[in-house]
Amino acid sequence: MNHIALLLENQPGALSRVIGLFSQRGYNIDSLSVAPTQDETLSRLTMTIGEEGADINQILKQLYKLVDVVMVQNLSEVDSLAMELALIKLKKSKFDVQKILQDISLENEILDEKEDFTIFKVLGDTKVIEELLAILKKEEFLEVTRSGTLGVTRGSESLATNDQTKISYD
């Protein structure tokens, strides 16, 4: 499992270049999250590539080659944090959601509950979220939505842009 963090120019079509690269080159993305950053000219993406045998270095090089990609880093190669948020809406049954949530190492909260459904959130490691979903397999899911993994390096280092490269002409 590789988590890749990427800074992207906030330009029309920029995201489609990243997504397109994956289908064009035959790579699979397991998850992808995109959102603006504190710098309004940049978006930040976290991608998860789990595929076995995928040439991760080739993927990183191809990504960095895109003109709109400002910086790319494989978070799995450095000391980093990764987490995911899932919102789960279950049909009510005899099943005790609260009991299960107590036993699992995910930050969680029941957000809404009526006679026929429960909505709760879990936050934490992607693998543990998948374990939880496996436990809940027999229940009737009304909806599940997940953020995809988000990642950041530990320590004070940050995934920053180079300064604008000035290209001078005579």
């Binding site: 120019e9 080739q58 080659k65 003109v67 490269t165 290209i167 001078s168």
Partner: protein
């Protein structure tokens, strides 16, 4: 200084002129009309009207390949843009710098399925180095500047600028300012290599026993011919060029062992197979070179010099990778070799072995001069005859198929940028419009388009453009009355089942066709008449001549690598092969 006010359309053309663009190829239409009006009112940039947008891209591409300067074309939205796609993909696959400007429907119509609307950014995305959708007319000069910078630096490639019609409105003026500097965030370029890598490369090169230099189109893009030649001489080892690299090392030099790969020479493929060091310069180990990559160069250490980091370790893992400009890096290596006083006679035995291979199964470059019992013309003889008639000095463009391989094998290119063909994408229809681009760049030079009766019909309409602008291109049509390369594969791999390759009864009379466009048409069917016809064709300096040469329809291109085999496994003729 007084402020100069321009419309978006005027700014676009002015910015092209300020980028030193002298010529562009295009075809007008609704969304591009404001731009065409701006073209009409200036004389710094000449616009060439082609007959199909595909030809505009190929002509700009041919211009770029021959000159090393970026090619420019202009098309309208919708079908104009989609017609340009094949040409953009052709340039992308061969890393050719193009700037393609496409008209787009007005901003407020985008997304409404407006007349002649197509998502050019989306359609072209996988086949461009980068693309711009103009959002403000004031941005046009900066976008043009960026487009040229991106297209021409690092590994070159096509850049699309999609321009909504309303942003070129002649009534909306703004202050024109051509930028003197550019700001591109994290746009990494690699030039020179680390000194330690240079030392390592020189060590690998000189400590090898059986080295080979394998140079491709990247070496031409980097204008590294002089450096590659010097490296060859300092090393005294065999040098091979890819289809895209022909001319970067002179074909007439003793150390040149010909093209390698699918239809490479016996000696080049044997040298690659037996080498203990392969030095790739601006070449990307593509599948037409390596054959089965798992069986490629198993005895060899590998050095790879490329301007694109993603070309490194993509197909073949290498021992030493140097990301950089081939010209700079090879010059650094040459300096190091000179410093070491390396004695190139070390590789004499290995060089002799390569020459022995050539003697055994090399190409027969003397077919034209040998006695022939038959009057049937072999396609190879046509290339040899053209070589003779042009003194080897012509710019030669080609289309795709058997004629392309025969031209690559038998026309000896001694200089870079003289051999112009679609190597990566393999685009039939490329040859004639590419030849137009070359002829516009070098009006005084001989430009020949070596083609086949299949390919030439894919952009035949450009005979009209050639008439309009008086382009005396020589079209050498190797007419075998069938799609020869497909037929060859059907012979070799499909039991001779000729599926959809023939059209003999419906071929046009190319002579009359050429004449109807105002050109000269000539037909040759007998070997005994070939040389005279060829001489005459090239002696008509001011005329486009369509030389329709009837060649043996049963001839195959050899050598040919065995599918899935290693580089020593070749068919050498219909009856001889190097493997069991």
């Amino acid at each position: 200084m007084t402020k100069e006010m321009t419309s978006g359309g005027e700014a676009l053309i002015k910015a092209l002129a300020d980028e030193n663009v002298e010529i562009m190829f295009g075809y007008p239409g609704g969304a591009a009309l404001h731009i065409y009006d701006a073209i009409y009112q200036q004389n710094r940039v000449q616009h060439i009207l082609v007959r199909h947008e595909q030809a505009a891209t190929h002509a700009a591409d041919g211009y770029a390949r021959a000159t090393g300067r970026p090619g420019v074309c202009l098309v309208t939205s919708g079908p104009g843009a989609t017609n340009a796609i094949t040409g953009i993909a052709t340039a992308y696959m061969d890393s050719i710098p193009l700037v393609v400007i496409s008209g787009q429907v007005a901003n407020h119509l985008i997304g409404t399925d407006a007349f002649q609307e197509t998502d050019m950014m989306g359609i072209s995305r996988p086949i461009v180095k980068h693309s711009f959708l103009v959002q403000k007319a004031e941005d046009i000069p900066v976008i043009v500047k960026k487009a040229f910078h991106i297209a021409t630096t690092g590994r070159p490639g096509p850049v699309v600028i999609d321009v909504p019609k309303n942003l070129t409105d002649p009534n909306e003026k703004f202050e024109y300012k051509f930028p003197s500097d550019l700001y591109l965030r994290s746009f990494a370029l690699y030039d020179k290599a680390d000194t330690s890598d240079i030392e390592k490369a020189a060590k690998l090169l000189t400590e090898a026993e059986r080295p080979v230099i394998y140079a491709g189109g990247g070496a031409i893009n980097a204008n590294a011919a002089a450096e590659v030649f010097k490296l060859g001489k300092l090393m005294g080892c065999p040098v091979t060029n890819t289809l895209m690299g022909l001319g970067v090392y002179p074909a007439s030099d003793e150390q040149f062992i010909g093209m390698l790969g699918m239809h490479g020479t016996y000696e080049a493929n044997m040298v690659m197979h037996e080498a203990d060091l392969i030095m790739a310069v601006g070449a990307r180990f593509d599948d037409r070179i390596t054959n089965n990559p798992n069986k490629f160069g198993l005895q060899a250490k590998k050095i790879h010099i490329d301007s694109d980091p993603s070309s490194i370790d993509k197909i073949i893992d290498v021992d030493l990778a140097m990301t950089g400009n081939a010209k700079e890096v090879i010059a650094q290596i040459n300096n190091q070799l000179e410093k070491m006083n390396f004695d190139s006679s070390k590789f004499q035995p290995w060089m002799q072995k390569a020459l022995k291979w050539r003697k055994e199964h090399g190409l027969n470059h003397d077919m034209l001069n040998q006695e022939s019992k038959s009057d049937i013309i072999l396609p190879q003889q046509v290339i040899q005859s053209a070589y003779k008639a042009t003194g080897g000095k012509a710019y030669v463009t080609s289309d795709v198929g058997q004629h392309q391989m025969f031209a690559a094998q038998y026309y000896h290119f001694n200089e870079p940028r003289k051999w112009i063909n679609s190597g990566g994408l393999g685009t039939m229809g490329f040859g004639l419009p590419a030849a137009m681009g070359v002829k516009f760049a070098f009006p005084d030079e001989t430009v020949a388009c070596i083609t086949g009766e299949g390919s030439i019909q894919m952009c035949i309409q450009e005979l009209s453009t050639c008439g309009q602008y008086g382009l005396p291109i020589k079209i050498i049509n190797l007419n075998n009355r069938a799609l020869g390369m497909v037929k060859q594969w059907q012979d070799m791999q499909y039991g001779g089942r000729y599926s959809s390759i023939s059209y003999e009864d419906s071929l046009p009379d190319f002579i009359k066709l050429a004449e109807s466009y105002g050109h000269v048409g000539m037909k040759v069917e007998k070997l005994s008449e070939l040389n005279d016809a060829m001489e005459e064709c090239f002696s008509l300096k001011d005329k486009l001549v369509f030389l329709d040469v009837y060649v043996d329809p049963d001839e195959h291109v050899y050598p040919m690598l065995k599918a899935g085999g290693d580089m020593s496994e070749m068919y050498l003729s219909k009856t001889i092969k190097t493997f069991e």
